[in-house]
């Protein structure tokens, strides 16, 4: 089970620039390593990370094997209105992991 942690402020003033911190547990297997029998370990990384604010995309990251295991990404967005901030990580294998956070804008 992939675990994701997000840190979004619960409350913000309208127009305030808020920081969003995200962390997900994932090995980010590069595809350049070999197992004990010498067989190559296939690549398995999170290649896309997207942040949507009330359905509108506000941030996107294309990731490569050079991103460390358990990808940690922080970025900023403007608190425009109350609603839901949805974060989605898409791996090479398996389903997209999504995490939602509510924000109240005064």
């Amino acid at each position: 089970m992939t675990q994701a942690l997000v840190n979004v402020p619960a409350k913000a003033k309208r127009g305030e620039v808020i920081e969003i911190k995200t962390l997900i547990s994932h090995p980010m297997e590069t595809g350049y390593r070999h197992d004990t029998n010498g067989a190559p370990i296939p690549r398995d990384i999170i290649h896309t990370f997207v942040c949507r604010y009330n359905g509108e995309e506000v941030f996107r990251a294309d990731l490569h094997p050079a991103i460390a295991a358990n990808p940690f990404i922080t970025f900023f967005t403007v608190a425009t209105e109350s609603g839901v901030i949805e974060l989605a990580w898409t791996p090479d294998h398996g389903e997209t992991v999504t995490q939602k956070a509510n924000i109240t804008v005064e």
Partner: protein, 159 residues
């Protein structure tokens, strides 16, 4: 001390030179399998096209001395008002000596409010990392950071 005339020392010195050369050989062979500054330059052209890249506006923070290349904190920021008329569209990060020259591409817009991103990267060797920002007016700005890596990522195998 008249070392130069001692034949024993001379042989020992020659042996050490040869042994040293042999010890270096696998390192050189391994290096050739990695990305090089030339492949990084080619990758940059592939991503941003023939546009002119100027230095400035971008700040790239990486520790100058890295003890563990498996997780190196990196912060990239661009000086921009982030308004609808003037904002950062994309930030691309490249490296010289990992197996692939790409690290990440970040897509932003005026909704970001502030063009600043932090993450953790893998570095396979002491090298230079380059960040290039694409602004809404079509201009490209860059910053680079050099670092020494003592424990490299990507090379160790599973136990």
């Amino acid at each position: 001390m008249v070392r130069e005339s001692d034949p024993k020392t001379a042989t020992r010195r020659r042996f050490l030179a040869v042994a040293g050369g042999l010890a270096l050989a696998p390192i050189l062979v391994r290096r050739s399998a990695r990305a090089t500054p030339a492949t990084m330059a080619a990758a940059i052209r592939e991503v941003i096209g023939e546009a002119e890249v100027r230095e400035g506006k971008v700040t790239l923070e990486l520790p100058p001395l890295v003890e563990n290349g498996n997780a190196v904190p990196m912060t990239v920021a661009v000086a921009s008002p982030m308004t609808a008329a003037e904002h950062v569209k994309r930030i691309h990060v490249f490296n010289e000596k990992n197996p692939q020259p790409y690290i990440a591409s970040f897509h932003l817009g005026p909704r970001a409010g502030k063009a600043k991103i932090s993450t953790r990267v893998r570095l396979a060797d002491s090298q230079t990392v380059v960040a290039i920002a694409e602004l809404s007016d079509g201009s490209f700005w860059s910053a680079s950071a050099e670092m020494i890596v003592t424990l490299a990522a990507c090379i160790e195998e599973t136990p």
